[in-house]
Symmetry: none
Subunit: 162 residues, 2 copies
DNA sequence: ACCTTCCTTGAATATTTATTCAATGCCTTA
DNA sequence: TAAGGCATTGAATAAATATTCAAGGAAGGT
């Protein structure tokens, strides 16, 4: 797994789970997780993740993931854009997919996937904030996304491509 | 009417109707509308309006209004069909509220509520499919709903009134 | 191997945004 | 009326963020 992808993931996790007010702050948190980088890179990372900086209730600022902050200004109400809680990211490795959720959501979302039981998916295992999805042999990552997107609105926006 | 209020309104209109990439840009647009001010004031205005700066699709940045269109999105039918947050219902009894979720979702949704920590809510306890919400004294059920609806799309549709 | 080309990055810098500070005007109350 | 307290603002500045530029590294081709 590429270091950049790991870092992007860590950034998503950090922003999803705690309040970050500046890139310097994020830098420090990433250091604690073992990522060493610079503000310049964070600026680029946040841009590519479409993370927005928003005034908060306490007179400060906080970074928000594109789902919960505001909807993208696509004039047509594409149902992919609905801000839904829980889903954080989805990534692939071979015929495996890993979905990251907000803490506590993995089981709920996992059972939703199980109950739909798409053909493309052999099975799932859910922890607290992570769901492992085992795809059937010969099924591409695109096909997995398509199958899940049928009943998980907003999923496509969360897929991180290598 | 106060000049500041007029200006704030104009800012909202401009951001709602066109793409603004920087405060300098906004400054120019406001000049055209007859408002003369400085970047310092815009920074304060945007902060008070909770306007966020978000990376856009074209490699630039744009300001977005907070939770604009949240109500529009809410009455879309697909929300009821795909309750990804697991939300099932919400009911009140005195200063308590009980949220029912699909199995496994209560903890996730509960921690979302906790992390937002709205003033109106004293605390929450989550089981597997039930969240108990304790409201602050003197807070009405409507106020609780309003506070939660800020970050739980579709909540209003799930509230069961006596 | 060598040479591209593309991707990623840090340092420095440019740009943008937030805040400090002082000044002004507008209330209210004495 | 005067005096005190807010609210608002612009200029200057501080702070934060974005981009430029050059350098390394990986992947692929010859």
């Amino acid at each position: 797994m590429k270091i950049k992808t790991q870092r992007l993931n860590a950034i998503i996790q950090i922003i999803a789970n705690s309040k970050v007010g500046s890139q310097e702050e994020l830098l420090i948190m990433l250091e604690k997780e073992g990522f060493s980088t610079t503000q310049a890179t964070l600026s680029r990372d946040l841009k590519s993740l479409k993370v927005a900086k928003q005034p908060d209730q306490d007179g400060g600022y906080m970074y928000v993931l594109p789902e919960s902050g505001a909807e993208q200004a696509e004039d047509d109400a594409s149902f992919d854009e609905f801000p839904l809680s829980g889903l954080v990211s989805m990534e692939f490795s071979g015929n495996l997919a890993v979905i990251k959720t907000r803490p506590g959501f993995a089981n709920g979302l996992g059972s939703v996937i199980d109950s739909h039981g798409p053909y493309e998916i052999l099975g799932t295992i859910a922890g607290d904030d992570t769901i492992l999805i085992i795809a059937r042999e010969g099924i591409s990552s695109d096909e997995v996304v398509n199958a899940l997107a049928l009943f998980i609105p907003g999923l496509r926006n969360k897929v991180i491509r290598p």
